[in-house]
C-alpha cells in the first residue's frame, strides 16, 4: 500500500517527541524530590520506558487497538499480540478517519502514550516505593488498566468512542486515568514519614524547569501528532496546545500571586503542565478561544487544587491528582462547552450543540475514573501483600537512591567526596595483578606507576 510520506514523517517524528516526554517528566518530577530520592524517581520513569515498551508489543497494543472482541467495545483480541498481522489496517480507522500511515507507525506512536501514562503516576507515590513492587504494579497496570481504557476511548471500535465521548489525545485515557491511579496508590501506601510537618522542598528546580521545557516541546507530538497526519487539524491542535499552555502558565502564577504574594518558577512549570494536560483531550475539537479559556481555567483550578491534599491528609507527593486528574477533568468537560464542528468533532454547549456532548464527556470521565481507581487500588493491594510495595523506615530515611539502587545522585564536593573512603575490589573484579602483557609492552599503560 502507498502511504503518505508527509503524514508518516509527522507521526514518526511525533512518536519520537512523545518518547522524549518521559525523560522530560522524569526530570520534572526529580527536581521536586529531595536529594536522596532523585535517582529513585528517575529510575521509576526510565524503567517504565523499558517495561511498557515490551508489554505494548507483546500484548497491550493488541488489547487496545486490536480487533474488538465480540463487538462490545470492551477489549481487543490477541490477534495482534507480538505485533502479528501488521499488514492489516488498524481496525476502525476507515472512511474519513482512514489512516494514511503504516500501521507500525501507529503502533509506535501509541506506544509512547502507553509509556508515559503509568510514568505520570510516579509523582504521587514519590520517595517511598520499593523498586520491585513498583515494577510489578506497572506491569499489571499496563495490561489491566491502560489497555482497556485506551480501547474504550481511543479505538473507533471502543464503546466510549462510539458513544460519542471525545478525547483527541488522551485527557481521559492518559491524564484522568493516571491521575486517579496516582491518588489510589498514594492512599494505599500512605504518607511519607514526616509529611506534612517536615519540610520537603524541591532539591533542584532547574531540573523541574528543564523537564517542563521538554514536556512542552514533546507535547506537540502528543497532541498535534494525534491528528495522525500533517494537515490543517494538526496545525490547529498545535496552536491550541501552545495557547492553552501559555494561558495556564499565566493562570497559575497569577493565582499564586494573589494567594501567596509571589509568582514562583515551580508555579510557572506546573501551570504549563496543567495547561498541556487540560488541552490534551480538546486540542482537535476547539478553536483558539476555547483553548485560551481551557488554559486559563486549568492554570487557576489546578493551582488551587494543590491545597486539597492537605485538607484530606493525603500525601499525593507531587500533585498528580491536582495536575493530571483535575486538569484532565477540566479539559474533558470543557469540550462539552467549547467543542466546535468547525474544528472537528461535535458542537458543544456554546456552539449550539446542546448538552449531549457534555453528557458524553461526563460519562467518560466518571467511568474511567471509577474503573482506574478500583483496578489500580486492587493491583496495588495485591502487590503490597505479596512482594511489598513500600520501603521500610530505615530505607525511607536513607532515601531511595542508596537503599533501592546503591547509588548517590551527586558527588559535587570539589574537595571531599563522601566516598573518599575505600573502594573494594569485589569478587567480580579481582584487584588487577601485574600489568598484563599488553600493558607491559606499552609503556604508556603504566603512566600511573
Amino acid at each position: 500500500m502507498q502511504y503518505n510520506s508527509g503524514d508518516t514523517a509527522w507521526v514518526l517524528g511525533s512518536a519520537a517527541l512523545v518518547l522524549f516526554m518521559t525523560p522530560g517528566l522524569a526530570f520534572f518530577y526529580a527536581g521536586m524530590v529531595r536529594t536522596k530520592n532523585v535517582l529513585g524517581m528517575l529510575m521509576q520513569n526510565y524503567v517504565v520506558m523499558g517495561l511498557v515498551s515490551l508489554i505494548w508489543v507483546l500484548v497491550s497494543y493488541s488489547l487496545a487497538f486490536g480487533v474488538d472482541l465480540g463487538g462490545h467495545g470492551i477489549i481487543g483480541t490477541l490477534r495482534f499480540a507480538g505485533l502479528a498481522h501488521m499488514t492489516q489496517p488498524v481496525p476502525g480507522y476507515s472512511g474519513p478517519i482512514a489512516q494514511t500511515i503504516p500501521p507500525l507507525a501507529f503502533v509506535v506512536f501509541q506506544m509512547m502514550f502507553a509509556i508515559i501514562t503509568p510514568a505520570l503516576i510516579t509523582g504521587s507515590t514519590a520517595d517511598r516505593l520499593k523498586f520491585g513492587g513498583f515494577v510489578a504494579v506497572i506491569a499489571l497496570w499496563a495490561v489491566l488498566v491502560y489497555a482497556p481504557v485506551a480501547h474504550w476511548v481511543f479505538s473507533p471500535t471502543g464503546w466510549l468512542f462510539k458513544l460519542g465521548a471525545e478525547d483527541f489525545a488522551g485527557g481521559t485515557v492518559v491524564h484522568i486515568n493516571a491521575g486517579i491511579a496516582g491518588v489510589a496508590l498514594a492512599i494505599l501506601v500512605g504518607r511519607r514519614r514526616g509529611w506534612p510537618k517536615e519540610p520537603m522542598p524541591p532539591h533542584a528546580l532547574p531540573l523541574t524547569l528543564l523537564g517542563a521545557g521538554v514536556l512542552w516541546f514533546g507535547w506537540f507530538g502528543f497532541n498535534a501528532g494525534s491528528a495522525l497526519a500533517a494537515n490543517q487539524l494538526a496545525a490547529q491542535a498545535f496552536l491550541n496546545t501552545n495557547t492553552a499552555t501559555a494561558a495556564a502558565l499565566l493562570g497559575w502564577i497569577a493565582t499564586e500571586k494573589l494567594r501567596n504574594g509571589r509568582s514562583t518558577t515551580l508555579g510557572a512549570a506546573s501551570g504549563a503542565v496543567a495547561g498541556l494536560v487540560a488541552i490534551t483531550p480538546a486540542c482537535g475539537f476547539v478553536n483558539v478561544v476555547g483553548a485560551t479559556v481551557i488554559g486559563l481555567a486549568a492554570g487557576a483550578i489546578c493551582a488551587l487544587a494543590t491545597s486539597v491534599k492537605y485538607r484530606f491528609g493525603l500525601d499525593d507527593s507531587l500533585d498528580v491528582g491536582a495536575v493530571h486528574l483535575v486538569g484532565g477533568v477540566t479539559g474533558a468537560l470543557l469540550i462539552g462547552f467549547f467543542g466546535t464542528s468547525t474544528v472537528g468533532g461535535a458542537d458543544g454547549l456554546l456552539y449550539g450543540g446542546g448538552l449531549g456532548l457534555l453528557g458524553h464527556q461526563a460519562v467518560a470521565v466518571v467511568v474511567v475514573a471509577v474503573f482506574s481507581f478500583a483496578v489500580t487500588f486492587a493491583i496495588g493491594k495485591l502487590v503490597d501483600v505479596t512482594i511489598g510495595l513500600r520501603v521500610d523506615e530505615a530505607a525511607e530515611r536513607e532515601g531511595l537512591d542508596t537503599s533501592q539502587h546503591a547509588e548517590t545522585a551527586y558527588e559535587l564536593g570539589l574537595v571531599l567526596a563522601r566516598g573518599l573512603g575505600v573502594s573494594s575490589a569485589t569478587r567480580d573484579h579481582p584487584a588487577p595483578g601485574p600489568p598484563t602483557p599488553a600493558a607491559a609492552r606499552n609503556p604508556a599503560l603504566g603512566a600511573d606507576s
Binding site: A406, L416, G421, V422, H429
Partner: protein, 112 residues
C-alpha cells in the same frame, strides 16, 4: 565562656534546635560534616564496581554559652540527639577566652 560543639545525626537537627531554644539558647551555628567511627557507611555500585562509603553525613552544631550554662546545654544536646543507635555522635566543650558580637562590639556573656 565555653564553646559547646556537637556532632549529631542530621535528621536530629530540628529536635536539637528546639531543645536548645527551650532552655534559652538564642543562637547557634551549624555546618555539614562527614563522620567516621563505629557506624558503618553503605555500599554503592557503579557498573559492577562496588564502593564502600566509610563516611557518614553528620551535622556539627556549635553553641557559645556561659560557663554556668554549659552543663545544661551539654545535657540538652545529648538528650535531644540520642537515638540509642551507633553513630549518635559526640558533644564536647572547650574554653573560650573572649567573645565579641560583631554588630555592637559587646564582649563576654553580653555578646551571646
Amino acid at each position: 565562656m565555653r564553646l559547646v560543639t556537637a556532632i549529631v545525626k542530621p535528621f536530629k537537627l530540628g529536635e536539637v534546635k528546639d531543645a536548645l531554644s527551650e532552655i534559652g539558647v538564642a543562637g547557634l551555628t551549624v555546618s555539614e560534616v562527614q563522620g567516621y567511627g563505629r557506624q558503618r557507611g553503605h555500599t554503592e555500585v557503579y557498573r559492577g564496581a562496588e564502593y564502600t562509603i566509610d563516611f557518614v553525613p553528620k551535622v556539627r552544631i556549635e553553641v557559645l554559652v556561659t560557663d554556668e550554662a554549659a552543663p545544661g546545654v551539654i545535657d540538652a544536646l545529648v538528650k535531644a540527639a540520642r537515638t540509642g543507635q551507633i553513630g549518635d555522635g559526640k558533644v564536647w566543650s572547650v574554653p573560650v577566652d573572649e567573645v565579641v558580637r560583631v554588630r555592637t562590639g559587646e564582649r563576654g556573656p553580653d555578646a551571646l
